[in-house]
């Protein structure tokens, strides 16, 4: 969710109307934004925009455009007229496998001041970081026009074959060195990982402009206040996204008073003039408005609302989408804007049409029954995160590997991109979670009797499988096998499930005091006295006995028993 800041005064000038901060807060809602802050001293407004597909709003010029529409001060959009220029970018085919798309424009005729520079840099950064996916998909560069000799060449070169002084540095570096040494190089090196050739923009005299999407040249790539002619380029891996970014910049700069000159992109025999400023057309059947919003609007009303939203409607009723928007996939996307401009508050409310019977699943019902039994047995319910770690699940439970935790074997599901070791695995069974709980409550009065019910996930024969489980732990001076066996017996008796218990060897339990519970030919539970090794690891100061039951298996075993009757 991009957050942008701008000066309220700047906004008022661009809108052409005085606005209070409250009015700004209300108006940004039409762009799915939320005003976070207004600082009177600095005159600065901060806005969060929800919609990641509306990047034109990420600078004050776009926000002002939205407001002019909502306030009825502008209908549709006012087109940027592209001036003809003798500027071109010659694209070498070597970029094809590296970063194939490039587009550019030249803007002239307005002295850049601090406020404008700030907005320009903000727009550039938001477009590259957010919409351009950290510059990987799209990156934009801005250069002082006067230092460049056209045509500009875009090609991919060997990392050591080009050298220039990058911004913020004073020594000449090769592209390879920039990636290794320059802070921006290190930050964005991931984009070029595995590439043999790196992109390079240079002018006709061979002077480097930049190493896109990493860094500009210190000589030709730094803008200063007071300058009034610039070259703007975008490169990327997605033509549509790159073109959109350039269109957005063209509209923003044009509204600031710059004249926009086209740049010809030459690819072999193909010549394209950029920015494309291409307008999309879409048919929006009026009945869609009724379908989505239940509103009966006439064509005229719809047209008015569309123009408020910055669309144009041509004589055949087709909607024209401005070049700075590429978020319209379906007519519904346009209809939503009709609804927004109409005002969500002024749309009616209706009761739902049909009655339906609510309910839940047999497994959820069984889980609830088990909780009821557990509480009746005097066990306190606890609730823990599903995320855990191998230290808790195995090491502290004195298990050699994953497969030892449950008869039949499984392995723990680990997270590749965990943020903290504490939450690096999905819990594979619940008994360790209860041990963790007990270890944190040594100071609380005993006996401590606790249970948890919930999901544990494991990897079994190449698949991730969820198990709904309930585990009990009794911790007190006399906690022992009998107590947990009684719990098991009671539950099975209540659910009418016949079972047998077999002695098992299990690292977490005292040898000779651990059992696997078999019902309907399957292991459905484990129980026993926790091994003192485990208790010591956890720092638990009293004996603990535990039983863990697989609720899903109980449901199956219960149904099987029912069928026999």
């Amino acid at each position: 969710m991009p957050t942008i800041t701008f000066s309220l005064k700047d906004l008022q000038e661009l809108v052409g109307k005085k606005l209070t901060p409250d009015e700004v807060g209300r108006l940004v809602e039409f762009g799915k934004g939320e005003m976070k802050q207004f600082t009177k001293e600095t005159d600065e407004v901060t806005v969060d925009f929800d919609d990641t597909n509306l990047p034109y709003l990420w600078s004050v010029e776009g926000v002002a455009r939205l407001f002019r529409g909502v306030l009825g001060m502008q209908k549709g959009f006012s087109r940027v007229t592209l001036k003809k220029g003798e500027y071109s970018i010659i694209v070498d085919e070597s970029v094809e496998s590296v970063r194939p798309f490039v587009a550019g424009m030249v803007v002239k005729g307005k002295k850049i001041d601090e406020r404008l520079l700030k907005q320009l840099i903000q727009l550039q950064e938001k477009l590259c970081e957010s919409y351009g996916k950290r510059r990987s998909k799209v990156a934009m560069g801005i250069y002082p026009f006067d230092k460049i000799t056209f045509p500009v060449h875009y090609r991919a070169v060997k990392p050591e074959s080009a050298r220039f002084v990058p911004l913020d540095f004073s020594k000449e570096m090769s592209l390879g060195e920039i990636l290794e040494e320059h802070p921006k190089g290190k930050e964005y090196a991931f984009i070029l990982k595995g590439k043999q050739l790196y992109p390079l923009l240079a002018d006709s005299k061979g002077k480097a402009l930049s190493f896109p999407p990493i860094i500009n040249s210190a000589e030709t790539g730094k803008i200063n206040i007071g300058e009034e002619r610039f070259f703007v380029e975008v490169t990327g891996t997605d033509r549509e996204a790159a073109e959109l970014c350039l269109n957005i910049a063209a509209y923003a700069l044009s509204e600031r008073g710059f004249e926009v000159y086209g740049v010809i992109v030459v690819q072999g025999n193909k010549k394209t003039i950029t920015p494309s400023l291409q307008e999309e057309k879409i048919k929006v059947p009026p009945e869609h408005v009724k379908q989505l919003f239940g509103l009966e609007l006439g064509k005229g009303e719809i047209k008015t609302l569309l123009e408020k939203a910055g669309f144009e409607v041509n004589s055949s009723g087709t909607v024209i989408v401005p070049p700075y928007r590429r978020d319209i996939l379906h007519a519904y996307d346009v209809v939503e804007d009709i609804g927004i401009m109409h005002g969500y508050e002024s749309i009616g409310e209706k009761a739902l049409i049909s009655y339906t019977a609510g309910g839940t699943s047999p497994k959820a019902k069984l889980s609830n029954l088990l909780r009821e039994l557990a509480i009746g047995l005097g066990f306190q319910e606890v609730m823990s995160p599903v995320l855990s770690n191998k230290g808790i699940l195995h090491t502290n439970m004195s298990l050699g590997n994953d497969a030892e935790a449950w008869p039949g074997g499984f392995s723990t599901i680990e997270i590749e991109n965990f943020m903290s070791e504490t939450y690096s695995s999905v819990r594979s069974w619940l008994t360790p979670i209860l041990m963790e709980f007990l270890s944190k409550n040594n100071h609380v009065g005993y006996p401590q009797k606790i249970f948890e019910i919930g999901t544990a996930s494991v990897q079994q024969s190449g698949k991730a499988i969820d198990h709904e489980k309930i585990a009990f732990a009794a911790a007190h001076e006399k906690a022992g096998y009998t107590e947990v066996r009684q719990i098991l017996d009671y539950i099975m008796r209540m659910l009418n499930i016949p079972f047998t218990v077999e002695e098992i060897e299990h690292g977490s339990f005292i040898p000779g005091r651990a059992g696997a519970v078999i019902a309907h030919g399957k292991t459905i539970a484990l129980l026993g006295e926790i091994h003192p090794k485990v208790l010591t690891r956890w720092g638990i100061i009293v004996p603990v006995a535990a039983v863990e039951i697989n609720v899903g298996e109980i449901l199956i075993a219960g149904m099987a028993t029912d069928n026999k009757r």
């Binding site: 989505l292 739902l352 997270i415 903290s420």
Partner: protein, 509 residues
């Protein structure tokens, strides 16, 4: 109070102590004659005091008792007397060493003796190569007599300071300055005396009624209970607190949400927490380049890396993403990665369950579905963020539903879940709904809160999963804020609290 009832309520201890109060008043005496422990007597006195049977008086007493040296001097005499007596044996002039040896006085005591005897003018000291003591005639007199201090030591201890005669007081003050001879302690002593009510009770006779503390099975069997009266209890008395097992407060809160939703006609949905990107995102028409899909937006599972996805359905979803096939959409226009869609992640949003439901043969139209699902997103843990959280969300599917029904439903939710009568609906953005809206609700105590998000599922989502276009209203409620408010907690981490004391003592309302 009825005297009979009062007597029948007397505890065994009280019955033993009460008659003794005609003769005794102090705790030690009462303990001795009742054959009870002092603490038992104290408890009896406390109870009887509460019942107004006795009056309790507290006195501060200064008690004098003999200390270690005092006991010894009582038997052997004071060292200075022994000094004089030894001199009487040796001669009126003798070396200190000689005297000490004869009187068996230690080095430390010698100094005290010299001080005390010179003060009484019993001896003089003659300096020289060896210190010599000369006994005065007064000293010779003193040697024959028992000193005041010695007389004092022979009296009965412990005694009270206020009972001392004048000369005893003098001796006491003298000895008190010396090391470990006597001890002076201030004690609070309790004395009890009968009140008129106590006397009345005794006159009535407390032995007349036979009372029992407990009803026993034997009494029931023999019928003895018919002739037994039971001691009545002080029912207003405080008793020790107990704790009991119960549901986890947060689980209980979620149960409540569940039952409300079922009451509103919703059916609960379930699904796996290890989910493929297909159901979690692709089926919801979230493009594969969407920023919520990178490593900062979802937890990726190490192994198994891939799950299975229904191929035919996947082909439809792919075509919908790429070119909007099946609807009038132009699609996201990118190359859908059919391998990536199988990638296993931890479920990031409950909406995955709605996607599964739309494609399920169990789906009923019209239908209402909800889920309370554990979801996971990479997040730095703090007071407002957990990587592991619950989402409450659902769908309503029926031909002809519009945004107006969505608003009606949201008002109902605001009332059900936030006790809010007022709601605000703002334009919002979710990749899977068009239109999308955010709901604010005016909570009676929290003020305006973000209740959740909602919208109408995009046709590009519905068509591939269901095979036809139909209105599906989707909603999600941010339940944590309301849960924290209802449970009276300020830190989200406390939702999964591992504090047993909190779980035992958290208020149930």
């Amino acid at each position: 109070m009825d005297i009979k009832k009062l007597i029948s309520g007397l505890h065994t201890y009280e019955r033993k102590v009460l008659p003794l109060l005609e003769r005794f008043s102090s705790v030690p005496e009462l303990a001795e004659h009742s054959h009870l422990q002092e603490v038992e007597v104290m408890r009896a006195l406390q109870w009887m005091g509460n019942k107004n049977l006795i009056a309790l008086r507290e006195e501060q007493k200064e008690i004098i008792s003999l200390d270690k040296n005092g006991e010894a001097y009582k038997a052997q005499g004071l060292p200075e007397t022994r000094f004089l007596r030894a001199m009487s044996g040796i001669g009126r002039e003798a070396s200190l060493q000689e005297i000490a040896k004869a009187a068996k006085i230690g080095q430390e005591e010698i100094q005290i003796c010299l001080g005390a005897l010179r003060q009484k003018a019993a001896i003089t000291i003659k300096p020289g190569k060896e210190l010599l003591a000369l006994m005065t005639s007064h000293g010779a007199e003193l040697a024959k007599k028992e000193s005041l201090e010695e007389q004092f030591l022979r009296r009965t201890f412990p005694c009270e300071r206020k009972d001392l005669r004048e000369e005893e007081l003098f001796a006491f003050e003298q000895l008190r300055r010396r090391k470990s001879i006597i001890r002076l302690e201030t004690k609070k002593l309790k004395y009890a005396s009968l009140t008129p009510l106590g006397k009345e009770a005794l006159a009535y006779g407390i032995g007349k009624e036979s009372t029992s503390d407990r009803l026993t099975p034997a009494m029931l069997k023999s019928g003895a209970w018919e002739h037994t009266s039971f001691r009545s209890f002080d029912v207003a008395i405080n008793v020790p607190a107990i704790t009991a097992a119960r549901k986890h407060p947060y689980a209980r809160f979620l149960d409540e949400i569940r039952s409300r939703l079922i009451g509103l006609g919703f059916t609960e949905m379930f699904g796996p927490i290890v989910e493929t990107e297909f159901w979690d995102m692709d089926a919801l028409f979230m493009p594969q380049f969407h920023s919520a899909r990178d490593i900062h937006g979802a937890y990726f599972v190490k192994e198994p890396k891939y799950g299975s996805v229904p191929e035919e359905l996947m082909a439809r979803v792919k075509a919908s993403h790429e070119i909007g096939k099946g609807t009038t959409s132009r699609g996201w226009r990118y190359a859908f990665d059919a391998q990536r869609t199988k990638r296993n992640i931890l479920r990031t949003q409950g909406t995955a369950l709605s996607a599964r439901m739309l494609a399920s043969p169990e789906l009923k139209i019209p239908g209402k579905y909800f889920s309370i699902s554990r979801c996971f997103r990479p997040d730095v843990i703090d007071a407002t963020h957990l990587p592991d959280f619950n989402q409450v969300e659902g769908i309503i599917i029926e031909e002809g539903l519009t945004f107006q029904h969505l608003k009606g439903m949201l008002r109902m939710f605001a009332e059900e879940f936030a006790q809010a009568k007022e709601i605000k609906i703002k334009p919002g953005y979710f990749p899977f709904t068009e239109p999308s809206a955010e709901i604010m609700a005016k909570h009676p105590e929290l003020g305006w809160i973000e209740l959740g998000g909602s919208g109408i599922f995009r046709p590009e989502l519905v068509k591939p999963l269901l095979g036809k276009e139909i209105s599906v209203l989707a909603w999600g409620i941010g339940i944590d804020r309301i849960a924290m408010f209802n449970l009276g907690i300020k830190d989200i981490r406390q939702l999964f609290s591992h504090d047993l004391e909190y779980l035992r003592n958290a208020k149930a309302v």
